[in-house]
């Protein structure tokens, strides 16, 4: 199964991506789609600037996807990650995992998001409503812990 992986500035449509994964198929029993959005941090955030490492971003997402496919028998997988300026309410990332049963689809989608956060080469810079200078978002220990717990399973 060849996953679909896209790194792009443009927005995406989760419904279209789900339709592409399932059209003409009769073997999909479960489809879990996660969409990550830019939140406004109680009105203080004007926008995120997402920087990425072109080439490596696609390759690293591909490696994470292969790890998911080695763990769960997915029958379809789409991963999209945007870069550039993204404003509150706009979409950032999509993971859509299709499987025969829901357990595999839920687990794979969560694994993929946990691993993407710590391994895919993207960096967020915050433009604040009340400040001219933007600041880089610091990596969170909770994200490392979320990724590390899969190594024990």
């Amino acid at each position: 199964m060849e996953p679909t992986i896209r790194v792009q500035a443009e927005d995406f449509d989760a419904g279209c991506e789900e339709a592409l994964l399932t059209q003409g198929r009769r073997d999909v029993g479960a489809l879990v789609t996660f969409t990550g959005l830019c939140r406004d941090e109680e009105g203080t955030l004007a926008a995120l600037e997402l920087e990425h490492y072109p080439g490596m971003a696609e390759e690293e997402i591909g490696r994470v996807a292969q790890e998911a496919l080695a763990r769960w028998p997915l029958v379809g997988l789409t991963i999209i990650h945007r870069y550039g300026v993204i404003r509150p309410g706009e979409r950032i990332v999509l993971v859509s995992a299709a499987a025969r049963h829901r357990g595999e689809a839920f687990a794979a989608a969560e694994f993929l998001m946990d691993y993407l956060k710590t391994r895919a080469p993207f960096w967020k810079k915050e433009r604040r409503v009340d400040r001219a200078d933007a600041g880089w978002v610091a990596a969170k220990a909770v994200d490392d812990e979320a990724a590390a717990r899969w190594e024990k399973l």
Binding site: E51, Y53, V93, L116, P121, F122, W123, W136, D143
Partner: protein
């Protein structure tokens, strides 16, 4: 080899990429970080906390003790914050 920098590493150094020719005794990623940190104020600021630096060789993550001899492209960046 080509070096590429991202996020605040890029901003502190003031370059997105450059060609590097480290001396032969610089053999690992960690040694390259030390060598770069001694090149000037911006580099020193970028590499002040080596624990906060991640590296990739030819677009794959590597550990600080990875050898750099065969690298065509080496990247330095902060811990990732995508997703």
């Amino acid at each position: 080899m080509k070096a590429v920098y991202f996020a605040w590493v890029r901003e502190r150094i003031g370059l997105a990429e450059e060609d590097l020719a480290p001396p032969r005794e610089v053999e690992t990623v960690r040694q390259l970080i030390d060598w770069l940190a001694a090149r000037g104020e911006g580099y020193a600021a970028a590499f002040a906390n080596p624990k906060a630096i991640r590296a990739a060789i030819d677009k794959s993550h590597v550990a600080p003790d990875a050898p750099i001899a065969a690298a065509r492209e080496i990247a330095f960046f902060p811990p990732m914050t995508g997703g």
